[in-house]
């Protein structure tokens, strides 16, 4: 199981909806992958909050036609199957709006200037913030991914794999040379790329 496959099955795993063999492969990958463990840890509070949401949300009658038209199938006349419950889509939509605003604010602040001695601490703080934002956005994207065409999902996964690979490589280098300002800058840049890409991908789920 790859990292992307694990993340795609996160919700099913949390709901205990995976088959025994799939759950076993999920756990096997998780045990050997520090990045997925971090992803899961970051996602847990959000999963708990999502679980606590109401199981049914009745939209106001005048809003329903617009929402319904957005949920309708796209592409060559085939009707899409929705495997994600409506309450989760609604929760995801709320999350996406909130996250997009929060992430936009966060990104627009940019790195703060300060004494060189505090640069490493600032880089670590930035990395933690980006990691948290990325985990939130990845979760929101996961919940709404059935609204995207399979080809778009494949493109998103391909790009995320490139970013994740670069991130892992630069983090490994930084672990071997802690305090290297250039490596810190490159790690933060990779996180920024990831958050920006996830923001764009989640926006697609509501725009298209």
């Amino acid at each position: 199981m790859t990292c992307a496959e694990l993340r795609a099955r996160l919700d099913a795993y949390a709901r205990d909806a995976l088959s025994r063999s799939e759950a076993s492969r999920f756990e096997e990958h998780l045990n050997g992958c520090a990045e997925c463990q971090a992803f899961l840890e970051a996602a847990e509070p959000r999963l708990a909050r999502t679980e606590s949401l109401a199981r049914q949300i009745e939209p106001a009658p005048d809003l329903w036609p617009g929402i319904r038209s957005r949920l309708l199938p796209r592409g060559a006349g085939s009707r899409r199957r929705f495997l994600v419950p409506a309450w989760m889509l609604a929760a995801a939509a709320v999350l996406i709006v909130a996250l997009s605003s929060g992430v936009t604010f966060f990104l627009s602040r940019g790195p703060a200037s300060g004494p060189a001695a505090s640069a490493s601490i600032r880089a670590a703080e930035l990395e933690a913030q980006y990691a948290s934002a990325a985990a939130d956005l990845a979760l929101a994207l996961e919940a709404a991914r059935t609204r995207l065409a399979p080809a778009t999902v494949a493109t998103i996964e391909r790009n995320l794999a490139v970013i994740d690979s670069a991130l892992a490589e630069s983090r490994r280098a930084l672990a071997g040379d802690p305090g290297n300002a250039t490596l810190e800058q490159l790690v933060v840049a990779a996180w920024r790329q990831k958050v920006e890409f996830l923001r764009r991908a989640t926006a697609l789920t509501t725009e298209l």
């Binding site: 309708l72 796209r74 060559a76 670069a166 890409f197 697609l204």
Partner: protein, 293 residues
């Protein structure tokens, strides 16, 4: 309150026109010269053309499975092709050619279709999931995003913000402030003379071919993408070039010292007395600085 009124105006003015298979579209409405216009054409090609009339004119064709809609009044309007509930649409079909006042602010969204914009002087915000985007002209603001389509911007717009996943970005003759970002797609700035440029890729290669004014700033950052700078040998700039695991090759002047390549070492130097600021950072991409005629 004004926005609410404008929104209500749209809702009341909106006229939805159902069309059968591949029907021709020919509609027009009066609009303010600086209007905000939203266009959504998920399946097909969209062409936006600026003109000198205070009118939106739409021609094109609505393919089977789509409905054309258009409405607006005063300073706001919206139009597009919407997917029918039962049949859906065939991707890649349908064409909207939309003429709008030159100074309009235009927002265009597409899923698979390409988007072309020309003749505008206002603002555009363009996004497509997999279609290509081409914008020509000198605008106040250009914002364009695609997931995997190619993106081309020509002309000296004041502010340019472009982003793709694995699509290619080409910027011809940029002169203003710009930021360009890709994951795996290459970025090319050709005949460039930007006031400031910030380019960021993960694995995409970056090519900068142009010149720099004394007050310009150029920042490039990649993870593994190669960086190729082609500048006049007479350029006045301070250079700060560093690839952690790649090679930096400096061969700016054919008459100067022999090209020197350095691996894993930052290269700081001043050319032509300094002025512009050039910073390139890469994790393992090679960096080349070469002279151009």
């Amino acid at each position: 309150m004004r926005r609410l009124a404008a929104g209500l105006a749209i809702l009341t003015a909106i006229a939805v026109t159902g069309v059968a298979a591949q029907q021709k579209i020919a509609r027009r409405i009066p609009i303010a010269p600086d209007a905000s216009i939203r266009i959504q054409n998920l399946p097909g090609t969209t062409r936006v053309i600026g003109w000198d009339l205070d009118t939106i004119a739409v021609t094109g064709s609505a393919p089977a499975g789509t409905t054309f809609y258009m409405g607006g009044a005063g300073r706001v309007a919206k139009l597009g092709l919407e997917s029918d509930e039962k049949t859906g649409f065939v991707p890649g079909t349908g064409l909207l050619e939309v003429r709008v006042p030159r100074g309009a602010r235009v927002w265009v969204k597409s899923a698979v279709g390409s988007i072309e914009v020309e003749g505008l002087s206002g603002e555009v915000d363009v996004a497509s999931a997999s279609g290509s985007i081409r914008i020509t002209g000198s605008l106040r603001l250009v914002t364009a995003e695609t997931m995997e389509g190619d993106l081309e911007v020509s002309g000296g717009s004041q502010l340019v913000r472009v982003r793709t996943g694995n699509g290619k970005i080409v910027l011809f003759r940029p002169t203003g402030d710009l930021t360009a970002s890709t994951v795996a797609g290459p970025v090319q700035l050709l005949d460039a003379q930007p006031a400031s440029a910030r380019i960021e890729t993960v694995s995409g290669a970056v090519t900068y071919d142009g010149t720099l004014d004394r007050r310009a700033s150029l920042e490039i950052q990649t993870h593994s993408g190669e960086v190729d700078l082609r500048l006049p040998p007479s350029v006045s700039a301070e250079f700060d070039l560093y690839s952690v695991g790649g090679t930096v090759l400096v061969a700016l002047s054919p008459k100067g010292p022999a090209p020197k390549a350095a691996k894993g070492k930052p290269q700081f130097f001043t050319a032509g007395g300094g002025g512009a600021n050039v910073v390139v950072r890469s994790f393992k991409g090679n960096i080349r600085l070469q002279g151009r005629d």
